[in-house]
């Protein structure tokens, strides 16, 4: 938007090698990964695909590291006008919106399966005849513990603990504690932000440390839950639609928490290095927005995957 600051020159960077080489890195990563996946499925020996993916990922990571370092240096050199900083704000906001839509696809799949297609398969409603012809024995249920065709998709074990709404149940329910941990981490991150704005470095670093720690604990508990699911309950990626939706929703969330924890760790290091100013710390804010977003997604997961 036009404003008083518009007389300041908008910094348009010189030529940059980052985009082109980042593209090469990205290409090699996915090309190698495609080969790896196809090799596994076809049972053929790996034909350099693993190396291609690793080299590509190394290039991509290296370039991104340099790229971020460059933007930080430019900001410290005072090149970024208020207007340019607003571009970053818009950029991050819309990126988070795109992430929201990515999760929306998986939530949409969950809602569709639970409320429409599984009941139809069980013979409910005007579309129920399909179930009648395909698998007349099939009973609709959620969590789906008996698949329409268990010879293809092995059923999970019986005895997935039945949820109740009593406090005693939640006290022993791992996802509940993970919710507490993640929401707490959002609060501690906010305290860190307050400390940053109050120029209290010591407090800032302490709260950041706590936040990163909570992220790591969350991931540890999540890993524990996956071990439980696979080992104890027989809920796996290939145990039918319940496992499919469960692992992709929580898995992509866990992947985002991993990335978010890594970003916050970088921010912690930058806090220790003294990169941020009370009035100029967009890198920190962007990381915080990302973390709060990941937190909100978890609340959605807790409600729709674990509770209801």
């Amino acid at each position: 938007m036009a404003s008083e600051s518009s007389h300041e020159t908008y910094y348009v960077p010189e030529q940059s090698k980052f985009p082109f080489f980042a593209s090469i890195g990205l290409f090699l990563t996915v090309y190698g990964l495609g080969g790896v996946l196809n090799d596994i499925t076809a049972g053929v020996s790996v034909t350099g695909s693993t190396w291609t993916a690793l080299i590509g990922f190394t290039i991509l990571s290296f370039i991104l590291f340099q790229w971020f370092a460059t933007t930080i240096r430019e900001n410290h050199a005072g090149l970024n006008s208020a207007q340019l900083k607003r571009s970053y704000v818009w950029g991050m906001s819309w990126f988070i919106f795109s992430e929201v839509m990515f999760f929306a696809a998986f939530f949409g799949a969950l809602f569709y399966v639970r409320t429409l297609s599984v009941p139809w398969l069980g013979g409910e409603g005007e579309k129920g005849s399909a179930g009648e012809f395909l698998w007349p024995e099939f009973q609709a249920a959620w969590p789906l513990l008996v698949n329409p065709d268990p010879s293809i998709y092995q059923n999970p074990n019986d005895g997935l603990n039945v949820k109740s709404w009593s406090p005693a149940f939640f006290a022993g329910y791992l996802p509940f504690w993970n919710t507490v941990i993640l929401i707490t981490s959002s609060v501690t991150l906010h305290f860190a932000h307050v400390a940053l704005k109050a120029e209290n470095r010591k407090r800032l670093i302490q709260w950041m440390f706590v936040t990163v720690g909570l992220g790591v604990i969350f991931l540890g508990l999540q890993a524990l839950e996956y071990v439980e699911a696979y080992g104890h309950y027989g809920i796996t990626l290939d145990s039918g639609i319940y496992g499919s939706t469960f692992f992709l929703l929580t898995g992509f969330h866990g992947f985002h928490v991993t990335l978010g924890t890594f970003i916050l760790l970088v921010m912690l290091i930058r806090c220790i290095k003294g990169h941020f100013r009370p009035n100029d710390h967009f890198g920190f804010e962007a990381a915080a927005w990302y973390w709060h977003f990941v937190d909100v997604v978890w609340v959605g997961l807790f409600i729709f995957v674990y509770c209801i």
Binding site: K17, F18, F27, Y31, S87, G91, V118, N147, I241, F247
Partner: protein, 527 residues
């Protein structure tokens, strides 16, 4: 500060100019050339299809290869030709139109572009892989693309992932540019409609490309990790694929037409020498179409056996789209009404757009009627419908834009005679190509088949003749562009007598860096 970073120099020399550029004009040019290359490649695949369908029986290609051609033709035209062309135009024109020094995030801008050649190299390379390339149509319905897909599907999925990332970054850049980089005095309701339509298009892109990423990810897991998203045996549903795909796919087709609306809204006032009729209603109509695009997706899948309530909802919601679209067509016609019209090549393409896109729109309303769609579904009528909105719609608008702004880009006037020749051959060719396909579809010819019953023979050979006429006519465009880049009559800054807007206040060719200081606010006029 500006002294330390002096930008008043020209482009770098050699190949590094293109590989490492951060300049919106360079990146715009690369997008446009890439798009043109993909247009010719996708067109070649289309000619393979039309050659095979010239007469009944199998002549040139195996059925499986035919399917790979229909798939690749669609994917390349949608993601490789039409979308990058609009992004190229956005790169070139939006900063010039709003008085900005460049795109908001210039390095990311170049990343958005350079991902594309790699993504399409990977996509096209699947044709040479064991088992052949994707052969399940550009809509890649499960389980055809999961259980029964060739091994190269994995690479197709990753290509979609990275070109989706490219689209999202490009769209974020467009939004940040429009919201943050407008010159003082350039209020939202003074923005040229091309800027408005791109703002809304970028919003659609960010909203639906992640859903496409999600659906191909589910495919990837179904194929390689045994999940059951699209397999009823595990409690999933193949129809779920279609819902997710079309939740992306319907906004996607508007992504390919909204910027076209913006282009036409720039060209018609110029050559009618009148202000655009109903500017405000154009903005609101665009926003309405974008909103509606999110709640009509299941009209692509009336025949899957949806509950009746769903069919009715999606039928009525779809028909509603005709209202804002009608507003637009009315406004274009009203702009021309009693104007001092001249018919240079951009105007010819723009008028053809209004007429032929409207035909495509009407067949769209026909297809929206659920019981009628039961008969039309997956026939050549559908093929005729979407080619009418995409070829004489989106593609004609891109050609109109090319002729319209080519003098601004190159500094020379293009060859008007050749331009008109290109227009008339394209116009005649495209109608011979696609109009008979309506009749084929109404008579029951299914789409995506290499062979057909004898009664379809006549219209098919007519269509194929039109296809080759249209296809080879595009070489004229290539020639006109190259000729114009190399020289010709000098273009003035104004170029067109009736043209309005900031892009016409800078010299032709536009200098390497423009609007490093914002333009004089008095130059910014209401539309």
């Amino acid at each position: 500060m500006s002294a330390a970073h002096d930008h008043h120099h020209g482009p770098a020399k050699g190949i590094s100019r293109w590989l490492f550029t951060t300049n919106h004009k360079d990146i715009g040019s690369m997008y446009l050339w890439f798009s043109f290359a993909m247009f010719l490649l996708g067109g070649t695949f289309a000619l393979v299809i039309r050659a095979e369908l010239f007469q009944p029986g199998l002549q040139f290609v195996e059925p499986n290869f035919f399917n790979q051609m229909t798939t690749m033709h669609g994917l390349i035209m949608v993601f490789g030709a039409v979308m990058p062309a609009f992004v190229g135009l956005a790169n070139w024109m939006i900063p010039l139109m709003i008085g900005a020094p460049d795109m908001a995030l210039p390095r990311m801008n170049n990343w958005s572009f350079w991902i594309l050649p790699f993504a399409f190299a990977m996509m096209v390379s699947t044709l040479f892989m064991e088992g052949g390339g994707p052969n399940f149509g550009w809509t890649f319905y499960a389980p055809l693309s999961t259980t029964y897909g060739p091994p190269s599907t994995t690479f197709f999925i990753f290509a979609v992932h990275i070109l989706g990332a490219s689209s999202i970054m490009g769209a974020i850049n467009v939004i940040a540019t429009i919201l943050n980089m407008r010159a003082p005095g350039m209020t939202l309701m003074k923005m040229p409609l091309f800027v408005w339509t791109w703002l809304i298009t970028a919003y659609l892109l960010i909203a639906v490309m992640p859903v496409l990423a999600g659906v191909v990810t589910m495919m990837l897991f179904d194929i390689h990790f045994g999940t059951a998203f699209f397999d009823a045996a595990g409690g999933g549903d193949p129809v779920l694929f279609q819902h997710l795909f079309w939740f992306f796919g319907h906004p996607e087709v508007y992504i390919m037409i909204l910027p076209a609306f913006g282009i036409i809204s720039a060209i018609i006032p110029t050559f009618a020498r009148k202000r655009l009729f109903g500017y405000d209603s154009m903005v609101y109509a665009t926003a309405s179409i974008a909103f509606l695009s999110f709640i009509v997706w299941a009209h692509h899948m009336f025949t899957v056996g949806m509950p009746l309530a769903g069919q009715l909802f999606f039928m009525y919601a779809t028909m509603l789209i005709a209202v804002p679209t009608g507003v637009k067509v009315f406004n274009w016609v009203a702009t021309m009404f009693r104007g001092s019209m001249t018919f240079e090549t951009p105007m010819l393409f723009a008028i053809a757009f209004v007429v032929l896109f409207t035909i495509g729109g009407f067949t769209g309303v026909m297809l929206a009627i659920t019981p009628v769609d039961f008969q039309y579904h997956d026939t050549y009528f559908v093929v005729a419908h979407f080619h009418y909105v995409l070829v004489p719609g989106a593609v004609f608008s891109i050609m109109a834009a090319t002729y319209y702004w080519l003098p601004k880009w190159t500094g020379y006037m293009y060859d008007e005679t050749l331009g008109k020749l290109h227009f008339w051959l394209s116009f005649i060719g495209v109608n011979i190509l696609f109009f008979p396909q309506h009749f084929l579809g109404l008579a029951g010819m299914p789409r995506r088949i290499p062979d057909y019953a004898l009664q379809f023979a006549d219209f098919n050979w007519i269509s194929s003749v039109g296809g080759f006429l249209f296809g080879f006519s595009q070489l004229i465009l290539l020639f006109v562009i190259i000729k114009c880049v190399r020289g010709g009559k000098k273009a003035t800054a104004q170029v067109w007598e009736g043209a309005q807007g900031l892009e016409w206040t800078v010299p032709s060719p536009a200098p390497y860096h423009t609007f490093e200081t914002p333009p004089d606010p008095t130059l910014i006029k209401a539309q």
